[in-house]
């Protein structure tokens, strides 16, 4: 099975090719051509213990992030990346959906209540400009424009409760 991962880091590390030659328990995975092998076991759904050939052990927890990416936790670090099997990835790329485009939507990073709206459709916003205030856990959080542009629509109303990932505002597409 061939997969593609897209890591948040920019540079050559951004896209990684993976190929699972052999799954658990005795795994063999090619990572950008390098072979990693060892023994893998599932402790609980989504929680893996990997023991590499040199004895190195790592407990890795996988869970879907609220934005659909994979959130991987191991010890002190958390890594979030997209993962897709190669055929799907290629199909998405060829249809234009695979490119990292500039954000056209502003989504709620957490559940909350919209306290205040600071823009209206047609407004020109600068990158980083506060566009609304979201109240969550007794704190007011300013949500800022991810890029400069023009507000296409305001999807929510003041006072409305929103869940994580819910779209708040749309910007006019720049391409």
């Amino acid at each position: 099975m061939k997969l593609r991962a897209r890591l948040p880091a920019s540079g050559p590390k951004g896209d990684v090719r993976l190929e699972v030659a052999h799954g658990a328990p005795s795994f063999r995975v090619q990572l950008d051509g390098r072979t990693l092998a060892g023994e893998a076991a599932v402790f609980r759904p989504g929680i893996w213990s990997l023991v590499f050939e040199d004895g190195r052990q790592i407990e890795v927890s996988l869970e879907p992030a609220s934005d659909g990416a994979l959130r991987v936790q191991f010890g002190s670090a958390i890594l979030t990346f997209d993962l897709q099997d190669e055929l799907t990835a290629l199909a998405l790329v060829s249809s234009g959906r695979g490119k990292t485009k500039r954000a056209d939507v502003v989504a709620a990073a957490m559940p909350g209540r919209v306290l205040k709206l600071m823009v209206a459709p047609g407004d020109v916003v600068a990158s980083g400009q506060p566009i609304l205030v979201l109240e969550a856990m007794k704190m007011e959080n300013e949500v800022k424009a991810p890029r400069e542009g023009v507000v296409e629509s305001v999807v929510v109303a003041a006072g409305q409760a929103v869940s994580a990932g819910e779209i708040l505002i749309r910007l006019k597409s720049d391409g």
């Binding site: 879907p64 954000a103 856990m137």
Partner: protein, 501 residues
């Protein structure tokens, strides 16, 4: 069941903490809950529980009548307010007493005497407690400022009498600088506030927040139980506390304890309370305020002094003398990390939701006080503190090393927490050298620990294996619904909060 009942007018971590103290004393704990807390841990640990309304605190945890009615319904004769909510509300304390119930805390008189910042300063000054020296009337001329500096030392802060918001303030570091600075300050004050009046106050640079725990009982005895170092604050919220403070010598401790007891005595203090001081680099200290309740950071004092402050509060409310007979000496060093449901990688944005996995750290030197367990939902409506990791070591170095171990052992899934923030902070050279002040975190930027090449490979391999097994249909997938959702499509637009790593 003839055990006395105590109602906890609170929720979350402190409610669970008070429930444990009740059990240790043979008192039956009663919980209250809003709609958001129906299955929260503090409810499930209690002997009785009463629904008090919808999620917003102003309609539930902040409604005195509902709390008193809940006590009446369940036969509770004591009410413990915890911290936050109505804990420092003198009117509520009085209502509790008027309803014939016992208030587990200081008298309404003590609460209100310490409730006003200015009135409380006047009160403790009369008892000989030092406050930050400042002129009480505007300076007539530069000479008056020089005289003040002569008496109180430098640096000074010149402030516009009509001012605020930092405008028109000037720092003066010696008598020679006074004349020019005074003239400039007056002119700025005039242009900003249309009033040239300026006064001087001591400027305490790189000061620490150090507080003294006090405990008084109804026999009139008041003792102090050492200090807590609480300089690490973010947005005026304490983040990590220590006991003892590495900046406090035994001699200074004795002086601060004496002053704290005098402050408490000035308001006939009964129960647990905390006298907060600003500690200057030169060892001078000044009264800030007194908190007339149990504090979030009380466990660091408990593990270093070997006491149970919440149990003492209940004993004292029952009219018993405190069970601490001899003077206690501190042993070792303790740290408390407040674990919040906040994402340090997104500017500490709240991260409410369901805790899908929780591995609490354990082992030597680790005490965890938390209000949640696996499966609990962290609601949107309240303070986002999940747990306190209270770490003891024989010295500060051992406590820090154990704290790193405990934070690294912990796992929380389903929500983000401040654990990675603490792991980063516990590596900071200035923190390790104890070179901190209340400004420390203002100038500190969280930088997530970067995974090693090996960790990154392991994460990718695990993701690939999980996807492979799911494609084979032979293994459980990542928890929380990925099993049904399948692999994520490439996201067409990253959300505004960007990349996390």
């Amino acid at each position: 069941m003839n055990r006395p009942r105590l109602l906890i007018a609170n929720r979350g971590e402190i409610a669970a903490r008070i429930i444990r103290a009740c059990r240790d004393l043979g008192v039956s704990p009663v919980a209250v809950f809003s709609d958001a807390d129906r299955t929260s841990l503090h409810v499930r640990l209690a002997d009785a529980a009463v629904h008090i309304g919808p999620p917003p605190a102003r309609e539930s945890y902040l409604v005195p009548e509902k709390l008193i009615a809940a006590a009446k319904k369940t036969g509770a004769t004591f009410i413990h307010p915890g911290y936050g909510f109505l804990a420092e509300n003198a009117a509520f304390a009085q209502m509790v007493i008027d309803a014939g119930l016992v208030w587990v805390g200081p008298s309404p008189g003590s609460i209100s005497a310490m409730g006003s910042k200015t009135a409380s300063r006047a009160k403790v000054m009369a008892a000989g407690v030092p406050i930050v020296p400042g002129m009480t009337t505007p300076a007539k001329d530069a000479a008056e400022v020089v005289a003040f500096g002569e008496k109180n030392g430098y640096p000074l802060l010149l402030k516009a009498a009509a001012g605020g918001g930092g405008k028109g303030m000037r720092v003066v570091r010696s008598a020679g600088e006074v004349p020019a600075a005074f003239a400039r300050a007056q002119s700025e004050a005039k242009s900003y506030f249309a009033d040239p009046a300026v006064y001087a106050e001591l400027f305490v640079e790189k000061s620490r927040h150090v507080e003294i725990q006090v405990l008084g009982d109804q026999t009139g005895r008041i003792i102090a139980l050492g200090e807590r170092e609480c300089s690490l604050q973010r947005r005026h919220q304490k983040v990590l506390e220590e006991c003892p403070s590495a900046a406090v010598t035994p001699e200074l401790r004795a002086r601060m304890e004496k002053v704290a007891v005098a402050a408490a005595r000035a308001v006939d203090y009964v129960s647990a309370g905390t006298v907060e001081f600003l500690l200057a680099k030169d060892g001078r200290f000044f009264f800030l305020e007194m908190n007339t309740r149990i504090q979030v950071e009380h466990p660091v004092t408990e593990v270093v002094y070997g006491v149970d402050l919440v149990a003492e509060m209940i004993r004292i409310a029952r009219g018993e003398p405190m069970s601490i007979e001899m003077r206690l000496e501190p042993r070792g060093h303790a740290l408390q990390c407040r674990i919040y449901a906040e994402d340090p990688a997104r500017g500490f944005a709240p991260s409410p939701g369901k805790i899908r996995r929780l591995r609490r750290p354990q082992g030597p030197g680790v005490r965890v006080d938390s209000g949640v367990e696996e499966g609990d939902v962290v609601p949107l409506d309240y303070d986002a503190m999940l747990a306190k990791f209270v770490i003891w070591g024989k010295d500060r170095d051992e406590a820090i090393r154990r704290a790193r171990r405990a934070l690294g052992e912990a796992r929380v899934e389903g929500i983000e927490t401040t654990i990675p923030f603490f792991l980063a902070m516990l590596e900071d050279p200035e923190f390790l050298a104890n070179d901190v002040s209340t400004q420390f975190l203002d100038g500190w930027t969280y930088q997530a620990a970067t995974e090693t090449e090996e960790q990154q490979s392991a994460a990718l391999v695990a993701g690939a294996l999980d996807a492979f097994e799911r494609a084979q249909g032979s293994r459980p997938a990542a928890s929380g619904g990925a099993g049904t959702a399948g692999l994520s499509p490439w996201r067409t637009a990253r959300p505004t909060f960007g990349v996390r790593s």
